[in-house]
Symmetry: C2
Amino acid sequence: WQTVLEEGASKLKREYKFKNFVEALAFTNKVGNLAESEDHHPDILLEYGKATVTWWSHNIKGLHRNDFIMAARTDGLYE
Amino acid sequence: WQTVLEEGASKLKREYKFKNFVEALAFTNKVGNLAESEDHHPDILLEYGKATVTWWSHNIKGLHRNDFIMAARTDGLYE
């Protein structure tokens, strides 16, 4: 994960690689389901063979402990 | 749809609004299924209540007639 500063907020960002579009879309759904279950939602950029996930907390315009937990759980979905 | 120039390629980009994350994710899947069925894949940025779709043709680094057709079909999935 990289820490990036975007629009004045620190964010956690990681790119995940896949064989094709379908696998990247399946991962997007896994992350989306996790997000919905925790009511905490990342941005996900879906591209061919690639999904880039960005976590941060809108309310504090930055990173909360929870974002690091969600990042680790996102890694768990990739394995 | 807006025509944008990104990384040296002309692209068609449109942002679609939704009530929440789940609806934006459902739309992402609809567009993803269309993309897979046509073997032509856009970028999709999924955010809370929002999905931004970008079409272009990688092989010509720009816009082909097919991208405009896919854009119109993407609109059809939104209605």
